[in-house]
């Protein structure tokens, strides 16, 4: 069932076995998995069906660190969450990402990748990837597309599978008809209320922007508000535990990690070059799916060099960013590939029509660049090391509910800088050792991140997972330490981020959490 808070009585109470806050990939995966098992589920979503500026503004806040986009521009508050705009690139974390590494402080997960493997398989099915194959050599042979052969002693290929599904319209739409599920729109959770002994959640306070106030009660609660808002909501709920729910050890909001990326080099290839739109760009396979190859540094070399995980992306040089109407046309094209229309179709078409010159020029450039090129831009994306000082806090400015806005203090440590600089040097060695070509560095020194640095919109780590409450907010079951019935889904639980885009792992963890909750409910 889909219901809007406007249609509910003021002060009414929503009741369920499991109450999930947020209808993005994480929340919807938990909801779907539980719904299939007959559990009574309520999903509380701050937004509605489509982007609304006044709701989006709730996510705004301050950033202290490298200037990237405003916070509200990096998340979507609507059914489907940020999957309304994501680019759909997916890859599993590496096995090594789960292990503690002596040279990366606070690294490692409480379990190994094998624990997640059945859920990764499920996540691939949920996103409907077919085939699931991460082997570049096989793709190269299957598609008759060349790939590089860098020195295996230093570098290796990574493949990302790409399918920008919308988790609401492409995956969870049947929840509308499910009798045991209530999806409530324009339901912003304002606070988590605890029992007197602080050991459990007793209810959630919910509001909409028209002044309606409700409550939600359940046996179990799952926060799935995204990598920043999960921590924000815990910090905002400070009436019983003064520093916020689950924050006895001052870990909530800390260890914020992103995947900073920047242009780090120019690769000049010997020989005939590579197709500009080959396996290193998004190579379209049909049925809305594409693949893309990157380069990684082998784990032994990373250990020897004492650097974190990285991915090196290659893009045919001179391939310009799509701007204006051309960018709108690419978005529309991506949606059509998924057999759907963007929620802002009118605006999109208007941008395309009023910027027809740019659309035509971009189409020409794309067509003209469909040939072999020998110069590629190298973009390095690094795993940011866990760092207590990189954190989300609350600022004094408030949102339309009078709630304190988030303030993100995004910090890098010496290891991040070393990784950023050394990774491209190692890639240069890998291509040189194989006589593929040479790389010219575009990063000047280890001291600073280059001005071209962007983030991946991957917000991780702010409610990290650890068996020890002093170093983590949730335990290995994603339950908040010290609170019997509060769980967290999303990349905020990642204790270590690797270099893979997070959403596939978010979905796998959400499916795992649903299994856990089902078992707990069955035991009651």
């Amino acid at each position: 069932m889909l219901v809007d808070t406007d249609a509910l009585e003021d002060d009414s109470a929503i009741e369920a076995d499991v109450c999930i806050v947020g209808a993005g990939p994480a929340g919807l995966t938990v909801a779907k998995e539980l719904a299939a098992g007959g559990v009574r589920v309520a999903v509380l979503e701050s937004g509605g069906d489509g982007v609304e500026p006044e709701v989006s503004a709730l996510a705004d806040g301050e950033i202290d660190g490298i200037a990237v986009q405003p916070l509200e521009a990096t998340r979507v508050r609507a059914l489907g969450g940020t999957s309304n705009v994501w680019t759909g690139q997916c890859r599993m974390l590496d096995e090594e990402d789960f292990l503690p590494r002596a040279w990366v402080p606070d690294s490692g997960w409480p379990f190994r990748r094998s624990e997640l493997e059945p859920y990764y398989a499920k996540a691939h099915r949920i996103i409907r990837f077919r085939p699931v194959d991460y082997d570049m050599a096989k793709w190269s042979a299957r598609l008759g597309q060349p790939c590089l052969r860098p020195s295996e002693k230093i570098a290796f290929h990574r493949v990302s599978l790409c399918k920008p599904v919308n988790f609401w319209s492409d995956y969870a739409l049947d929840l509308k008809a499910a009798r045991n599920v209530t999806v409530v729109t324009h339901a912003t959770v304002l606070a988590i209320r605890l029992t007197e002994d602080e050991g459990a959640v007793v209810r959630l306070d919910v509001g909409n922007l028209r002044g309606k106030r409700l409550t939600a009660r359940a046996r179990h609660y799952v926060l799935a508000c995204g990598g920043l808002d999960n921590a924000r909501l815990l910090l905002l709920s400070d009436d019983v535990q003064a520093c916020g729910v689950g924050n006895r050890h001052d870990v909530v909001g800390r260890f914020f990690m992103e995947h900073p990326r920047f242009i780090s080099g120019t690769l000049l290839l010997a020989g005939l070059g590579l197709p500009a739109r080959g396996l290193y760009s998004e190579y379209y396979l049909g049925e809305g799916q594409a693949i893309r190859g990157d380069l990684g540094i082998v784990p032994e070399v990373r250990e020897r060099e004492r650097i974190a995980n990285v991915a090196g992306r290659l893009e045919a040089a001179g391939k310009e960013e799509y701007v204006g109407g051309a960018r709108a046309a690419v978005r529309l094209f991506r949606h059509l590939r998924q057999r759907r229309l963007p929620h802002d179709l009118g605006d999109t078409l208007w941008q395309i029509i009023t910027d027809a010159d740019e659309v035509a020029a971009a189409a020409y450039r794309r067509f003209a660049s469909d040939q072999n090129v020998s110069t590629f831009t190298v973009t390095t994306l690094i795993e940011q090391a866990p760092n207590r000082e990189s954190r989300l806090t609350l600022c004094e400015r408030t949102d339309a509910f009078g709630q304190r806005r988030p303030r993100l203090v995004w910090r890098f440590c010496e290891l991040d800088r070393r990784t950023a600089f050394r990774a491209v040097e190692l890639l240069a060695q890998a291509v040189g050792a194989a006589d593929i070509g040479r790389i010219r560095l575009e990063v000047a020194s280890e001291q600073v991140f280059p001005p071209s640095t962007e983030w991946g919109h991957h917000h991780m780590g702010t409610t990290r997972m650890s068996d020890d409450p002093r170093t983590g907010v949730v335990d290995r079951d994603a339950k908040v330490h010290g609170i019997a019935n509060l769980f967290i889904a999303g990349a905020s639980v990642f204790p270590t981020s690797g270099s893979a885009p997070p959403t596939l792992t978010v979905v796998a963890l959400a499916a795992r959490l649903a299994d856990h909750l089902r078992r707990r409910l069955a035991a009651l």
Binding site: L268, A270, E425, Q429, G432, D435, R438, R440, L441, E442
Partner: protein
């Protein structure tokens, strides 16, 4: 700054074997120069290596250190193709071992930087 065009012709293109003038093959210097590539592109890259100070600025020292590194090569080897093959193997192993230098941002194997510098300091083949 090394131009990309020169770089393609020099380092990445790895030149083509220069044609040795008749009778020159007996002189090691000429055989080495022919193996490295006696072209404006190679010299330009070599000049940049020297300017950046990442290699010795002495032709004899450069040649000697290359010869020493190529222990598999007979000291009097004068066949440019054999020298070139040995230099290629040395260059690849330098890269693999991290024996690299930074020349105007380009990451080069130390041995290839030496080879280009040697070419830049040598008079062209007659």
């Amino acid at each position: 700054m090394i131009s990309r065009r020169y770089f393609l012709g020099g380092a990445v293109g790895l030149g083509s074997l220069a044609v040795l003038p008749a009778g020159a093959a007996t002189r090691p210097r000429d055989a080495w120069l022919a193996a490295i590539g006696d072209s404006p592109a190679v010299r330009s890259v070599g000049a940049a290596c020297l300017r950046c100070g990442v290699v010795e600025a002495d032709r004899q020292v450069l040649l000697r250190s290359l010869m020493t590194a190529l222990a598999t090569l007979a000291p009097q080897e004068a066949d440019p193709a054999a020298i070139r093959a040995a230099l290629g193997a040395l260059r690849r192993s330098d890269f693999a071992a991290g024996e690299v230098v930074n020349v105007d941002g380009w990451i080069l194997a130390r041995s290839e930087a030496r080879a280009y510098a040697f070419a830049a300091l040598s008079a062209p083949l007659a």
